[in-house]
């Protein structure tokens, strides 16, 4: 099994009222792994996600995604790499509210610079895996329930068949029964598509769905304030 994500000597420096620096321990995630990343807010989870997805560039150190050192790529190339290889889902506001569901999905395909061919069929098959009615494709995002929106966000994140899916607190807007249904659908879909999953949450109850659990505090070296 090859490596999906690798961090080496990663440091991220923040300047502000108080200068802070996050130092990450070296870390590897194998392809196809499903990792539960636990951490309280402010623990550096978001920074890590931003670094992995390439929205942030690290102050020093290296990030390799799928054997490509993304931290060394130009901004435009990194944006393009993200579009093609990484899907991201947040706790809310994942979809452009004024577009239809189909257009949201098309947008992802367009920004990844891939052909729109077979898009609808692929979207429909993902929607079937996630228990979504095909009818919602033509609806405006604002007409959907939160649960539906989150599942559409998964469809949209997976439409370009990314090798890696980053998920940040996707269930916090869902009630418990919807949450359990969502979790099993998400994991099944990732299994079927062979996707590497990084699932970030502060909710310890969700641990049970995962074999690998990592605590944010284990990932960070002792924080130094300079």
């Amino acid at each position: 099994m090859s490596v999906a994500i690798e961090l080496r000597n990663l440091k991220q420096h923040y300047s502000g009222k108080v200068d802070t620096e996050l130092q990450f321990n070296d870390w590897q995630v194998q392809r196809g792994d499903k990792v539960f990343l636990h951490g309280d807010s402010g623990s550096g989870k978001s920074t890590l996600l931003n670094l992995i997805s390439g929205v942030l560039t690290p102050t020093s150190g290296e990030i390799s995604i799928l054997d490509e050192v993304t931290s060394a790529l130009s901004n435009a190339k990194r944006d393009n790499f993200r579009a093609q290889h990484i899907g991201v889902v947040f706790q809310s506001l994942n979809l452009v509210p004024y577009l239809t569901v189909l257009k949201n999905i098309k947008l992802a395909r367009y920004l990844a610079k891939q052909a729109q061919r077979n898009l609808v069929e692929q979207a429909k098959s993902l929607m079937n895996q996630l228990n979504l009615d095909e009818q919602v494709l033509d609806k405006k995002v604002s007409e959907l329930s939160v649960g539906q929106q989150q599942r559409i966000a998964i469809v949209r994140a997976l439409i370009n068949q990314p090798e890696i899916l980053l998920v940040d607190e996707p269930t916090s807007a869902l009630d418990v029964s919807a949450r359990d249904a969502f979790m099993s659908l998400l994991l099944n879909t990732c299994n079927e598509n062979g996707t590497t999953l990084i699932f970030v949450s502060h909710d310890q109850h969700l641990k049970k769905y995962f074999e690998t659990c990592v605590d944010m505090t284990d990932l960070l070296k002792k924080q130094e304030v300079s």
Binding site: S41, G42, S46, L49, N50, S53, V55, L56, N75, A76, D79, N80, F81, R82, A83, Q84, V88, F90, Q91, L93, N94, L95, V96, P97, Y98, L99, K103, K106, L107, A108, Y110, L111, A112, D168
Partner: protein, 411 residues
Amino acid sequence: MLFSIAKDSLLSRKKTVFLTFCSLVISLLVLLSVEHIRLQAKESFNRTISSTDLIVGGPSGQLNLLLYSVFRIGTPTANIKYESFQALNEKRLVKWTIPISLGDSHKGFRVLGTNSDYFEHFRYGKKKPLALSQGKQLETLFDTVIGADVAKTLGYQVGDQIVITHGIGKVGFTNHDKSPFVIAGILERTGTPVDKTVHVSLEAIEAIHLTPAKLQKVIADPNSVDLTPKSVTAVLVGLKNKFATFKIQRDISQDPNDRMMAILPGVAMTELWSLLGSVENILRVIAALVLLSSLFGLSTMLLASMNERQAEIAIFRVLGAGPVKIMLLIFVEAILLALSAIIFSVMLITAILYGFEDFLASEYGLFISSNILSLDVVKLLGVVLVATIVTALFPAIEAYKSALYRQLSKR
């Protein structure tokens, strides 16, 4: 794709977008109509008369003479003697003359008494002669040749009988209904006041002003009464040598036998146009300022929406859109809005002009084409689009910056 997203994005903010659209349309209407009417007025103005070196008429103002002899606006104040016209015709340096006798009307269209020289020598536009689309020129006493608009508006055909009234209102003072004129010919459209004119012979003008008894005699036998005109309203003169223009002009104004004045049409036209010109420039400046303020409105609208669009920008970033693409989206939105405002206002103006074309022409002698897309107007619209892009720079740069520093989750 970007285009379709921009469209949906604008549609999702219907109220503000609609108001901005209205403001753009209104300012474009002002700008386009000022520009179009200016160009059209100038063109229609300059094509009205060509090749004529002098216009001779009774003493009044230069503009007055020009207005009634060429544009058929206003009323002639003084006539000149028919003998003066004949003398003018015999001058050595004069190549041709066209006598004009005005003062009567037919259903609101001016009647112009003249002779066959009119059809031979009159020129408009780029030295274009008049041409008949149907029928023949004036041959007998009661023949008339009508302009294209007269024929179209009143639905006349060659051979129809018409009545000429005295005076120039739509209802004349006296209906000369005992003088049955016949339409002998219809002229091709010229886009000048000729289209709105009913042409008759000078003798016919004399005839309709005879007493009813005499008129009956003339109808019975055209040669029984002497119909030599006593006066004409004005004379258009073409010279053999342009250098003689000022000499002839001086001779005419100093003629001991008649009180006359002669004007140079080019000079008088320039004077008339310069009167309109300063108004025109003020209007253009105002129109440009109105448009500028609308464009700032557009830019303000987009800038104000940037705040509520932070989440949207984050989504675009997640999906791999670079800051440049997000900036482009803002540009596309601005251009889309400006372009639809341009298309809508062009259509609206075309429709309005189409509706008022005849009214403007008959009431003001303005021939405004309803086809507004002349080269100058298209160039102007290009300038508007460039101005849109420049003003859209503000929100676009804002979007760029916001996209650059935007992180995935908001914390």
